[in-house]
């Protein structure tokens, strides 16, 4: 149990995919314009990560080394397609906004990366913990970026067609925050803040 918690926390923080491993950035930068999108994107990626880690870990002894990558891709692509179909059927407004980024989870480095680096070498429980940690870490960072970009860039936060927070009509939102450059600025500043805090807490 202790080992599982260590795997989970390490994946969540020390090896946070976005802030520490710096993988899966493409989708994170692109979809973090709204809190609602980041929430669903995070859940979709976590689901795929946990499922693919489970299957790959279970079958790691029977997959021939020569074709492990094609097998991983088949497994990952299947789960992504399942998420894609389910979201299209039951959450059409959010699917419409996330659009191509859902199918693109297939090529998200986090998922293939964890399949190759973790699930294919560890037992099932540890792989599930790793998937949950990685997915959770991805989702948390996305949520922070999404909250900041939506609030500052549009002046309000809208979820499920209800305005949760509004900065009032006197606030003139700087649109650049929700545009592509804003994604890089937000990401860069977030990383700077995180590094600063880490240095202060643990010293270097």
């Amino acid at each position: 149990m202790k080992r599982l918690r260590e795997v989970f926390l390490s994946a969540l923080m020390l090896e946070n995919p976005l802030m520490r491993l710096m993988i899966g950035l493409c989708s994170a930068l692109a979809i973090s314009t709204r809190v609602e999108s980041t929430l669903f994107m995070g859940m979709a990626a976590t689901f795929v990560l946990v499922c693919s880690n489970t299957i790959i870990s279970l079958s790691r002894k029977v997959i021939p080394d020569e074709v492990r990558i094609p097998v991983f891709i088949v497994v990952i692509a299947s789960f992504v397609t399942i998420v894609d179909l389910v979201m299209r059927a039951y959450f059409p407004p959010i699917y419409a906004r996330l659009g191509v980024w859902i199918p693109l989870i297939v090529v998200n480095c986090i998922i293939l990366g964890r399949a190759e680096a973790f699930a294919s070498k560890n037992d099932v429980l540890a792989s599930v913990a790793d998937g949950l940690g990685m997915g959770g870490g991805y989702t948390i960072v996305l949520l922070i970026m999404g909250t900041f970009r939506e609030l500052v860039g549009t002046g309000k936060i809208v979820m499920f067609e209800r305005t949760l927070v509004s900065l009032g009509s006197t606030f003139q939102p700087p649109t650049i925050v929700v545009l592509f450059p804003g994604a890089f600025f937000t990401f860069g500043f977030l990383m700077a803040i995180l590094n600063k805090l880490e240095n202060r807490w643990w010293g270097k």
Partner: protein, 189 residues
């Protein structure tokens, strides 16, 4: 690393792919009807927004022949429908997808039986959030209400573009222009 026999490699791939295919076809079968239904609801909602006089999806009938004739000339027009309430003609809806900044802006343009624009509803678009999307909001679209084929329906003449979203504004106005043209050339008798 021990060498695996080709047979094992092929068999593993076949097994994995078959299981994946099975799982996918199962999911597809379960979600297929729901996806179709969502698509129809989404479209009908846009039609009703564009032509508020017709509230139900059943009130809209596609004009297949007209649409086919239209498509030969206007490639961006995908559908032409008439809207009726109890057999009473309330107007037309023309679905058109002009090119915006981020790809086609699929929109439904509602027209009265006399060919004046009632409203425009965006079905799907990929315009830049917070900038291009301003051209898809009521404040901008309101300018199009009441326009007919006799009006210029053109940015800079009778329509003001959104600053910083020229191409998105242009797409919406081009779509509206095409819709009134389609009415003039194909629907009005």
């Amino acid at each position: 690393m021990q060498q695996n026999s080709p047979l094992k490699i092929v068999l593993t791939l076949v097994v994995f792919c078959s299981v994946a295919a099975g799982g996918l076809s199962l999911t597809y079968a379960v979600t297929k009807d729901q996806i179709e239904a969502q698509k129809r609801i989404e479209e009908a909602k846009a039609y009703s927004l564009a032509l508020p006089a017709v509230k139900t999806a059943e009130g809209f009938t596609p004009l297949g022949d007209v649409a086919r004739a239209v498509r030969a000339k206007h490639k961006e027009v995908t559908k032409v429908l008439k809207g009726e309430v109890d057999g009473d003609l309330k107007g037309y809806v023309i679905v058109v997808g002009p090119r915006g900044y981020g790809g086609p802006v699929q929109m439904a343009v509602g027209l009265t039986p006399d060919g004046a624009i009632t409203d425009v509803a965006v079905i799907s678009s990929n315009e830049t959030m917070g900038l291009g999307t301003k051209a898809l909001e009521p404040a901008f679209i309101r300018q199009l209400a009441g326009k007919t084929a006799r009006d210029p329906v053109q940015i800079g003449k009778d329509i003001d573009a959104i600053t910083g979203a020229t191409r998105s504004s242009n797409a919406v106005v081009t779509g509206a222009r095409e819709a009134v043209d389609v009415y003039r050339d194909f629907i009005r008798r």
